[in-house]
């Protein structure tokens, strides 16, 4: 495949994703309101566009699928086919399929897909069978299954390679002209608003480069700043330097904002999840979105999707009751799940609130004791007990159902969020509902770091991993030859490791009678890490390391300190992963 073909295909993939997004928005609106002409026109244009461009760049399967859909939309426009739930379901299935295909093409441009089922469904409707059948309820589970399958297929990344290269290539080379020809209308069609800012697509790597250079400028700037008034004394230079630093600050925040995206598209996908899941469970649930224009780093946007899907599905499955239960409880029969995003300091907060039955702390407490996570005597508050649902080993088969879990529990949600340097917590009131609160840093490019010293080296630790900084003294510390070091933390005994030893650096101190230690926690429990000194807290800009040394020794990246020297960012969790094992479960500190 030559470069031109490659380029137009890749361009198509990203453009098609935008088109699908628009289409889904319309589908969702159509479902809840009477179709107006403009909406249908938009939909028709989108479909027509998709058909034309996919044909032009040689994705004939997408073109074929879209052709049927276009016919369907045309008939809807002409009032020949009413917009029944069944019709909308098929439209959704179409969108899912194309999305799946686009994902497949991303992996392998020669992939082929099985589109027969969707085509068949489209044909059935075009053939006149568009009434919501009696087995509507049986219909939706099958949709659900298909979607589940889709997720699994995605997970396996199984875009089937097509060996018949020629088949795909031949029509393509014929249609190069068409491709460039048919692009013009495409740019215009989807854009309705003319008075808004224009958009351009920019490669993320370029934006990162800009950020790198600006970061470097800022460091040079601080060097000048330090000399200002000392070695640099003339008025003009002094005022220039202070003006420069203002501009640099602006520039830096501007550059950071280039990586920011609104959460809208992520939230939009939740609409879909709520619609499908509640249908499959015969529940009536409305999703309310607030703050979907909240902006957050592109990477955070990508990572947040899975945890959100999980929590939302969980809320639908276990949280919100069936309509008749709700009526009995004196609630409106339609349940509400609310997604609310907002900024709080340098964090993004997403709250997922449902008005369902809530979680009974007593049940959790009992289960916790059953599973040996809790001691019967442990005096912990209801609020703390509820957080146990994030504990690994708490999710059991009983709590995993078809809808809300594919064998993964809330602990995975928690781990994922923590890996991004975030936090998640739950509040719940029996009978009133539950509310999850996810706290995430706005950007993954900058973290709050703690700069420490150990064995003559300076390192940055993500502050989110530092629970406490303690002074170790002979009163709270014990060691056994060959049995390790231990620290007494408010009555709990936790293991102590030396960072210098682990990293094979010069020993910090000959005797450990007095030292500084960082208390942190991984899946095996809390532990303390001995270091030489805590220097200061700083926001550090994370620089990617080459694949060559990334992940080596728990090093997740590097950052450039104020003096211009690079320093490694160490992930203590990763460094001590599988490093130690505690007997039994005394590590859950509320159990001690």
């Amino acid at each position: 495949m030559d470069e031109f073909e490659l380029e137009i295909k890749q361009e198509f993939i990203s453009e098609a994703a935008d088109l699908l997004f628009q289409a889904e928005e319309v589908f969702l609106t159509l479902e809840n309101s009477t179709p107006d002409e403009e909406m249908l026109n938009l939909l028709f244009r989108v479909a027509h566009n998709l058909k034309g461009t996919s044909m032009a760049v040689g994705f004939e399967q997408i073109s074929e699928l879209t052709h049927h859909t276009e016919n369907l939309i045309l008939k809807i426009q002409q009032n020949e086919i009413p917009l029944t739930t069944k019709v909308i379901d098929v439209l959704f299935a179409f969108k899912d399929k194309v999305e799946e295909m686009l994902d497949g093409y991303k992996e392998n441009l020669e992939a082929t897909f099985d589109i027969s089922e969707v085509v068949h469904n489209l044909e059935v409707i075009l053939g006149g069978d568009y009434h919501d059948s009696m087995e509507a309820s049986e219909d939706s589970p099958s949709l659900e299954n298909e979607r589940e399958e889709k997720y699994e297929n995605e997970a396996k990344g199984d875009a089937q390679p097509d060996l018949n290269l020629d088949q795909n290539l031949l029509p393509l080379s014929n249609s190069e002209e068409e491709a460039s020809g048919s692009k013009k209308p495409q740019v215009k069609a989807p854009k309705k608003k003319e008075d808004t800012d224009e958009d351009i697509r920019v490669k993320l790597s370029r934006i990162n480069k800009v950020n790198d250079y600006i970061g470097e400028l800022v460091i040079l700037q601080t060097v000048l700043e330090q000399k200002r008034g000392v070695e640099i004394t003339d008025d003009l230079s002094i005022s220039s330097i202070s003006q420069m630093s203002k501009i640099f600050k602006e520039l830096q925040s501007m550059a950071m904002s280039l990586r920011m995206l609104p959460l809208k598209s992520t939230f939009q996908r939740m609409q879909r999840i709520v619609r499908d899941t509640s249908k499959a469970l015969n529940k009536d649930i409305k999703l309310e979105l607030r703050g979907e224009d909240t902006e957050v780093d592109k990477k955070v946007v990508e990572f947040i999707l899975d945890p959100l899907v999980h929590i939302v599905r969980n809320g639908i499955d276990h949280g919100v009751e069936a309509p008749h239960e709700r009526t009995e409880a004196g609630k409106p029969s339609q349940g509400v799940i609310e997604l609310f995003a907002f900024h709080e300091g340098s964090n993004l907060i997403i709250q997922i609130t449902d008005d369902g039955k809530g979680i009974d702390p007593n049940i959790i407490r009992r289960k916790g004791i059953e599973k040996g996570i809790l001691n019967e005597s442990s005096p912990i508050s209801d609020e703390e007990v509820i957080q146990l649902i994030f504990h690994p080993g708490f999710s059991t088969k009983e709590t995993v159902s078809e809808v809300s879990g594919r064998g993964v529990g809330m602990d995975v949600v928690k781990t994922n969020i923590e890996n991004l340097g975030g936090k998640v917590s739950l509040q719940s009131k029996v009978g009133t509902g539950s509310s999850f609160r996810i706290e995430l840093p706005l950007t993954l490019a900058i973290v709050d770091g703690l700069i420490i010293e150990s064995g003559d080296h300076k390192f940055a630790l993500p502050l989110s991993q530092v629970q406490e900084i303690v002074q170790i003294s002979k009163d709270n510390f014990a060691s056994a030859t060959g049995g390790g070091l231990y620290y007494k933390l408010r009555g709990n005994i936790i293991p102590v490791f030396s960072l210098a030893e682990k990293l094979d650096l010069k020993k910090d101190r000959p005797d450990l009678k007095e030292a500084t230690a960082i208390i942190t926690e991984n899946k095996d429990g809390k532990f303390a890490v001995l270091i030489e000194n805590v220097l200061y807290k700083q926001q550090v800009v994370i620089k990617e390391l080459g694949a060559d040394i990334k992940g080596f020794n728990g090093i997740t990246g590097a950052t450039i300190l104020g003096n211009g020297k690079p320093s490694f960012i160490i992930d203590l969790k990763e460094l001590y992963k599988d490093f130690f094992k505690l007997n039994n479960n005394t590590h859950f500190d509320i159990a001690c």
Binding site: D212, E216, G546, D548, F552, A558, I560, G564, F568
Partner: protein, 156 residues
């Protein structure tokens, strides 16, 4: 990649440099720039030939010391030492050498093969030997193999 056929190398230009008293060459196309010896931050627990990381105008770059890697005594006079920044397998890496000589045009007819024996430990890093018009020999390095830092991770 095993050994480069003569065709590959036709008219290629190489950057010639010294390590110890030996002459080596790297294909000019992989060279990004040449800088002086940078300040580096050492990477804990890493093999000796990894000198550490440096800050090159905001970018973090791993620095490899070719003396240690190839087991060559460094020259006493360090004043001419330089770091060649190369891009290999899409990663930028800096290599420290004793001095930079010049850019040379390599005629494929002047190339000969390196002898591989278990004793010639570094032969796997050398693509071929080039005889210069002035009659000295230059060893043309295979930076992809030389800087295959994946082994760093496994060495740990």
């Amino acid at each position: 990649m095993e050994d480069r056929s003569e065709k590959d190398i036709t008219g290629a230009r190489f950057l010639e440099f010294n390590i110890g008293n030996e002459k080596y060459g790297v294909e000019l196309l992989t060279v990004i720039e040449v800088i002086s010896i940078p300040e580096t931050t050492p990477l804990p627990n890493s093999p000796k030939y990894i000198k550490g990381i440096m800050n090159l105008r905001g970018q973090i770059i791993t620095i490899v010391d070719l003396h240690t890697k190839l087991n060559i005594e460094p020259k006493e006079d360090q004043s001419q030492c330089a770091t060649i920044i190369v891009k290999v397998n899409n990663v930028q890496v800096g290599v420290i050498v004793d001095s930079i000589n010049k850019v040379v045009n390599v005629n494929p007819n002047d190339l000969s093969e390196i002898v591989t024996t278990t004793k010639n430990k570094n032969s796997k890093f050398i693509n071929s030997i080039w005889k210069s018009p002035e009659d000295y020999l230059v060893f043309l390095l295979n930076f992809e193999k030389l800087l295959d830092l994946e082994e760093v991770a496994t060495a740990a």
